[in-house]
Amino acid sequence: MILKLNKNVLKRYEHNLNGGTVFLFNMKTEESWVGNSAADCLLRLIDGEHTLEEIYEYLFPLFENFNENELREAFDKIVKSLLEKGFTEEKNG
């Protein structure tokens, strides 16, 4: 699966807020989504070119204190939320 950010969505990360908080905002629907610094790491890698598995392969080693299953479960939850709420989309083709 290749993901990309919905073109109407703005992303903003604030380092100094609660240990790092990422905000997504859909300009068309005015809906917002809030995540932590781990979510920001994921979002920075979603580029419409790399598959989710390629992203996970790069991402997971950055979180040394967690095993793969825990990380996969946590990030799959974030991905599911982003897709369901329309902040990200699957890229066709």
Partner: protein
């Protein structure tokens, strides 16, 4: 101007309350601020003079005093690195200005990179170099929800517009506006109001409606170079009210005014009802008059970085130059820049003024240029 009718005052209040509501990221910024952020680690808005080259020599240009040449412009590699910094910092909006941006050969490369990460993009232009091909390219790159081209139009007639912009420019500008709209690009018109075009403000608004633009903005002329073009306050006020009444007739063109003049010095506006409606009150306690919360930056064509456009008028305003150091490395220099510091106003004029909370003692650059300190009111303030 001492007597404002109640109906006119209501129109003005409505317009004052609408200020900045059109920024698509407004709700996002409000949400972030509601979490307690008062100083932004990274800017979310950048105005960027991408070139000093221009094909016109407008008499009121805020660039006047500079050299209209691309020879000092930052090169493409530096420009692309800068856009990458915007992406890494999560900048939300970039205004590309100049000079004339369409003179820059890598303009579309820059726009494409900004849009690859959903950065809201505005291009300001005199419109004379816009072709059908460039309009089509913009349509492919731009997001109609938030991106636009802002075209400068300084009169509703050729005589008035060309008095500022030069012979033969009026019809070409109108043709460019039509090309952009035909190709599905959102267009705003910006008019710099001077003593010369003041009387055509309403006619220009009507013209904008006929053309089908999305918004008209009227801004005040910069005074550093153009004291003889400053519009008369009473006349400007009269035209502003006419415009607001025209907008009330529900034309589809949005109106944005940076020209609401001299209200604070008008006794008839300061009724208890209006003061309550606008939430005006004296400041209390340790009110923070600081202007720069880290939310914006201004980048000059030669690579100098400033906290804002006005700061570029100060010798001590620069944070450094992109030709030597990347933006990420320059940003911490804000902390030692005088404009970024806490602004403490002890002048009793501000401490007793009901507008102080709204205006925050005005522009600290103006204060610094006059008093060599930011801890004074804006020198342009007319309230005694």
């Amino acid at each position: 101007m001492d007597n404002i009718k109640e109906c006119d005052a209501k129109l003005l209040i409505k317009k004052i309350k609408e200020y900045r509501k059109d920024f698509p990221a407004r709700l996002l910024i409000q949400k972030i601020k509601s979490e307690g952020i008062t100083r932004f680690e990274n800017p979310y808005y950048v105005s960027w003079e991408i070139t000093a080259a221009c094909n016109l020599r407008c008499r009121h240009c805020c660039f006047a005093g500079g050299e209209y040449s691309s020879k000092s412009d930052i090169d493409t590699e530096t420009a692309i690195n800068l856009v990458q910094d915007f992406i890494d910092m999560d900048v939300l909006k970039v205004m590309l200005t100049g000079g004339e941006p369409f003179l820059r050969k890598d303009l579309f490369e820059i726009i494409e990179m900004l849009k690859s990460h959903n950065i809201i993009t505005e291009v300001t232009s005199n419109g004379l170099l816009i072709t059908d091909e460039s309009a089509k390219r913009l349509e492919k790159l731009f997001n109609p929800v938030c991106d636009y081209v802002q075209i400068s139009l300084d009169g509703a007639t050729a005589g008035i517009h060309e008095d500022t912009r030069g012979k033969g420019t009026f019809q070409k500008t109108l043709n460019s506006i039509k090309k952009l709209i035909k190709n599905g690009v959102k267009v705003y018109i910006n008019c710099v109001v001077t003593s010369k075009n003041l009387h055509e403000m309403c006619d220009l608004y009507n013209l904008a409606s006929k053309l089908g633009v999305n918004k008209v903005t009227f801004t005040r002329v910069f005074t550093e170079y153009n004291n003889n073009l400053i519009p008369n306050d009473k006349e400007l006020f009269k035209e502003t009210i006419k415009l607001l009444k025209r907008e009330e007739e529900k034309t589809p063109v949005e109106l944005r005014l940076f020209t609401i003049p001299g209200l604070a010095s008008c006794k008839a506006f300061n009724t208890p009802e209006i003061i309550k409606e606008l939430g005006l009150e004296q400041v209390s306690g340790d009110f923070d008059f600081s202007c720069h919360s880290g939310d914006k930056l201004h980048i000059r064509s030669d690579g100098e970085v400033f906290l804002c456009l006005h700061a570029s008028n100060m010798n001590t305003g620069s944070l450094g130059n992109l030709k030597q150091t990347g933006l990420t490395e320059l940003l911490p220099n804000r902390d030692s820049n005088i404009l970024f510091g806490k602004r403490t106003i002890t002048d009793t004029k501000c401490l007793k003024c009901i507008y102080a909370k709204m205006c925050k003692a005005g522009c600290p650059v103006n204060a610094y240029l006059e008093y060599k300190s930011i801890d004074f009111p804006d020198s342009a303030c007319k309230i005694s």
